[in-house]
């Protein structure tokens, strides 16, 4: 029998949504959490002093002194200045073998922070490539790209399939059957934030253009990716391996170069500084501007030579219109602008995306429960649903516990987070298979709630944050507690059997 267009779209939406939905939930949830990755890194490192009024000039000097002492022969230095989101000084240097060393320092004293943690970047790694090292292979990135495409496909096919989304735009009937309630939630979260969902899926793909079109740059630029990057990114790009370090020659204090650069980019606007071949006569100092008050992915960059002469001044305002448009659109996804207000709105809208996918997976199960309950394939789908949604939520919060409970200096500490994440997903699946999906949903949501509310209480840190009036850390505490309360309410709601909740509703 010939299928209609709507039936074809329904098939596509259902199966594409379900299979990729399991992956998409991880991507969307971790992407949502990533909005606060700086704050999470700060929260996870109690050694960072709170409530500091950081002086950028002093911090730059501290970073420079550290690098002069620890990486005098390095080919590349990077100093990232502290911010109110993460008041810690970050320094990196690359040795002759090309190995990058990373350290975090107290921005006033220069004391090293011993705790090595991925911090909030753990969620970013999961979001952009399922925590698979892109240096090893691009499998994670490719899967995330496909997932992004599936999200776009599901958005478009969803508009065709869910015909009444505009007429029933604000309709949510929690007292209806599970199928109808979840469908209402799916439609509500989908249609209200449809521009956000499509924008995030599109810009996510847009950012990974190099993965989708891998041959374009090598063909058009005759195999020269650096040439492409110079033109596309508009930035000075120098492969250290192609250039020999020059003769030894002193480089002046970095503050001198930064002062000259800030005459162009604005006083006190420096975010980070690169020094290529420091202490050599071919040294280049690159000063990058912060992005906070501009909707732009690219940043102003001023490159100076050793004598302080400006080699290149790459200012966004002077770039071509296509370049500015590209930078503008990409920045919608790569949120570095707007401050706390915008981050909170992105966080809430991000939860709407994650909720949309969770509700969609639940609709699939609820719709088929009456006819398929007891069948092996359906039980597998229900168990995977629990793991891919509730299990992922547990694993995301458990990461905070693992980070805080694992002693500093334990060998392999950096990889414990992802290992525990995977173990929790496995345990969640087994639990769902053994307990049945309804009980597993309730128990795992309740566990997420307990972990969220309990995390700020670990080592009594919430009291320390209150005592030191550390607003950034207290905000993380508050967000965790609020999230925990929401999960607790969801668990409480799900605990009652469906029959007990049912109330006749209009069809």
């Amino acid at each position: 029998m010939r299928k209609t267009f709507t039936q074809s779209m329904a098939f596509l939406h259902t199966w594409c949504g379900l299979v990729f939905g399991w992956l998409l939930f991880v991507v969307l949830l971790t992407g949502t959490i990533t909005v606060f990755r700086g704050e999470i890194s700060y929260w996870l490192t109690p050694e960072i002093r709170g409530g500091l009024q950081v002086d950028p000039v002093r911090s730059l000097q501290v970073g420079e002194d550290y690098l002069r002492a620890h990486g005098p022969d390095s080919r590349l230095w990077r100093i990232t200045l502290p911010t109110t989101r993460e008041p810690v000084l970050k320094v990196n240097w690359r040795d002759d073998k090309g190995v990058t060393q990373n350290r975090r320092l107290d921005p006033e004293t220069g004391q090293e922070i011993v705790r090595q943690t991925e911090g909030g970047d753990f969620y970013l790694e999961l979001h952009e490539g399922f925590h698979i090292d892109r240096g090893e292979n691009l499998f994670g990135f490719i899967v995330v790209c496909l997932t992004g495409m599936a999200m776009l496909i599901s958005c478009v096919s969803g508009i065709v399939v869910h015909k009444r989304i505009l007429k029933d735009m604000f309709l949510f009937r929690p007292e209806a059957s599970a199928h109808r309630s979840w469908l209402d939630a799916h439609n509500l979260l989908g249609v209200l934030a449809l521009p956000f969902h499509m924008m995030m899926a599109f810009t996510g793909i847009f950012l990974l253009y190099w993965l989708f079109l891998p041959s374009a740059a090598p063909v058009l630029y005759k195999g020269g990716n650096p040439e492409f990057r110079i033109e596309a990114n508009g930035q000075l790009y120098r492969q250290l391996k192609d250039i020999e370090p020059g003769a030894a020659a002193p480089t002046g204090p970095l503050s001198l170069y930064v002062d000259k650069a800030e005459a162009l980019i604005g006083k006190g606007r420096t975010a980070y500084v690169y020094v290529r071949d420091p202490g050599r006569d071919n040294a280049v100092i690159e000063v990058y501007r912060e992005r906070t008050e501009r909707v732009s992915q690219q940043v102003d960059q001023i490159a100076l030579d050793r004598s302080g002469g400006i080699i290149r001044a790459q200012l966004i305002s002077r770039m071509s219109i296509p370049f500015q448009v590209q930078s503008f659109i990409a920045s919608w996804h790569w949120l570095e602008w707007g401050g706390n207000l915008v981050r909170w709105f992105y966080y809430l809208a991000g939860w709407m995306g994650a909720g949309l996918v969770a509700a969609g997976c639940s609709v699939f199960a609820a719709k088929r429960r009456r006819h398929s309950e007891g069948k092996a394939w359906f039980q597998a789908v229900e168990a995977i649903n629990v793991m891919a949604i509730a299990g992922v939520c547990i694993a995301c919060v458990a990461y905070l516990w693992i980070e805080r409970l694992t002693p500093v200096g334990v060998p392999g500490r950096e990889t414990i987070g992802i290992q525990v994440f995977c173990v929790i997903l496995g345990a969640s699946l087994v639990h769902a298979a053994l307990r049945g999906s309804r009980r597993a949903w309730v128990e795992q949501m309740a566990l997420t709630a307990i972990l969220c509310v309990g995390a700020p209480l670990l080592n009594g840190q919430i009291l320390r944050h209150l005592a030191s009036a550390d607003w950034v850390r207290m905000s993380v505490d508050a967000a965790l507690i609020a999230t925990g309360v929401c999960f607790g309410a969801a668990a409480w709601r799900l605990r009652a059997p469906e029959a007990a909740r049912l109330k006749p509703v209009e069809a």
Partner: protein, 91 residues
Amino acid sequence: MGVLVSLVLTFLALGLFAVAMARHQRYALGRVLSSRTVRLLRVAAWLLLAAAPLPWMAERGALMSLVTWLFCGLPVMGLAVAAALTKKGRS
């Protein structure tokens, strides 16, 4: 303050849109409004929606505010309207 005014205007605009829809009228109000009232509600909703981002833009800059309002402020306030309607429908 401008952000708050924007959010309130957005909430009101979306609320009026919701009340202008027959399904929501039956669910939340228990009756259907006349077509003249519905038309008036829709006009008022569009006007409010057009005005809603302006205070935000005046306070925080046009580009940044418009992107945040369109992609995030609008859906979050839509969710608040849905929550209010659900509460009203159940009461």
